[in-house]
Subunit: 194 residues, 4 copies
Amino acid sequence: MTKNRLEAFSDGVLAVIITIMVLEMKPPQGASLAALRPVTPIFLSYVLSFVFIAIYWNNHHHLLHAVERVNGATLWANLHLLFWLSLVPFTTAWMGDDHFASCPVALYGIVLLLAAIAYYILVRTLLALHGKASTLAISIGSDRKGKISIAIYVPAIPLAFVRPWISWICFIAVAIIWLVPDRRIESRISRQDA
Amino acid sequence: MTKNRLEAFSDGVLAVIITIMVLEMKPPQGASLAALRPVTPIFLSYVLSFVFIAIYWNNHHHLLHAVERVNGATLWANLHLLFWLSLVPFTTAWMGDDHFASCPVALYGIVLLLAAIAYYILVRTLLALHGKASTLAISIGSDRKGKISIAIYVPAIPLAFVRPWISWICFIAVAIIWLVPDRRIESRISRQDA
Amino acid sequence: MTKNRLEAFSDGVLAVIITIMVLEMKPPQGASLAALRPVTPIFLSYVLSFVFIAIYWNNHHHLLHAVERVNGATLWANLHLLFWLSLVPFTTAWMGDDHFASCPVALYGIVLLLAAIAYYILVRTLLALHGKASTLAISIGSDRKGKISIAIYVPAIPLAFVRPWISWICFIAVAIIWLVPDRRIESRISRQDA
Amino acid sequence: MTKNRLEAFSDGVLAVIITIMVLEMKPPQGASLAALRPVTPIFLSYVLSFVFIAIYWNNHHHLLHAVERVNGATLWANLHLLFWLSLVPFTTAWMGDDHFASCPVALYGIVLLLAAIAYYILVRTLLALHGKASTLAISIGSDRKGKISIAIYVPAIPLAFVRPWISWICFIAVAIIWLVPDRRIESRISRQDA
């Protein structure tokens, strides 16, 4: 039951985050195709953020699927993750408004990095609760994707001051790593369900 | 369980989309009836979009009712659908602000078309998972309504540059097609439940 | 299951409506107590609307508690109700911005009236599905409160053009009628549960 | 079931509140680090409010975990709590916009105080329903934290007119009191579950 409500609240917060970001895309002045031009960077930022929030929802979902119980520490580790994700609409709007200038792109990367660290802490908290022999521990394994993501975010932040598009390539690289489905967990779960 | 969470997240996103659209209807300047005049096109756009999101919620609900399991591909096909629907508040606001000019109406149609294609992909993904002999496959049948909708959206987009109201007639036609209840699925399900 | 998802979606929409209304209360210019003055009518409108949405959530909850099944007509009757309620943030904002001028107050009343009628239709649709001998039919009885509300809203709308505060007294009267708990349904249900 | 829907609606409202607050953090004008400076007080206010809403969600969750049934009075006591919490985005925005001036900080404290009183009423309503020998009554005990919070809020409000940062220290003190996990309830529940 506790786990269900944790999922329900997280789903609610993620659903609101992913949807209110679109409010930052103000309808353009004028009705011509050209009027859409200044909206383009905001739209691209929106797409990237939508994909990231969607990845977090997906991972969160897979993670909690394998979880058997939660405690107070888990609730706060989860809220900590939601805190950083709740800042994504703000960093997305700034990055889009300023056509991918260095500072906003770096801040976007910092928030993604802090969210990745928060996710890592959530995973560790759950592992501490379930023990090394649990389905959860086996499914997560060495959590390579999580570690690689952090390893990519760290250089992506200073690189925004060299060329912001290099940071963007880093962000897209992380997204692609996660979009390739994590066969291990799924196969492990379906094997166990069988 | 996985299916429940997919439904819960989709419900959350659709509930937020359908509700935040109303934020684009800014309270008019002045307290007279005449002050409501400029709000009228925004209100009409809102009604149309409310009906479309409601139809998607309804169809999504019926579709998942017949679904037995979901996998990673389903989750992403569903998120892809939610992405296009999340753009509806933006296109609705632009269309309303510019009193049904050609470009905004065409963009509105494009987003509806892409959402319809995303829904089609979601249905295919679920069918691939359940097989041709499943309740799902039998309930969906030839998916005539889905195909007709796409066939109406495609000409509706260029027609916005001839006369925007012709596109509106197309959109309303699609809405009416879906509002007529899909007796087949309901009867099939209730027969099976019995 | 279908009923659960109807409840979940309605809860989502009502939760968003009740919460985004507060976004219309813009933080005042200046940091003095006097700066709060112009916010007062917006705050009072917000309180009234919060109470009305809360009443609808409560009634909706009690209504569906006694419901055994839903069909396509129910889903649309429910969406119709949510449509009128989704306009409440708009009418609330207009009424608050214009310090209770006649037109905004009348429009506020019209939306409440249409929501009340939509609720009445939802009740009828559910009764038609469950039959006269059902727990639902017995719990609802003659639906006196629903009918009285409509009877109060109808004169409240034109009275806004005489004195807007008369309409407000009508709205508050309806709210009080509903806030007095409907002992009949609760006692009926708890008796049946026993 | 009634309890589930109470939880679902509360989760929805709290999820929206916690997320829309970020909309008050408007993307800064300009793309330099210096442009972030004026956003700092808004960000700090956001962090404080996020923590408070998170604490309420957590407490609400623990409270309802031990609850066995709810009635009409509970539903309204819960809505009363949600009402005061729904004002948090407004007071947060005003406090942030005006760089922690006396009036906004005092109003922020007033809303927190009223929310704390509303939570106290909710607890009393649930206790009245469950009786002194219930798991709920034993878990809550003397509700020391609730009483201490109120005792801190009361002086914090006038102190905002002496030095606003003294009020902030009070608010942070309350947050820390709650962040220290309430071992009693958790241990009581897990003992009972065992």
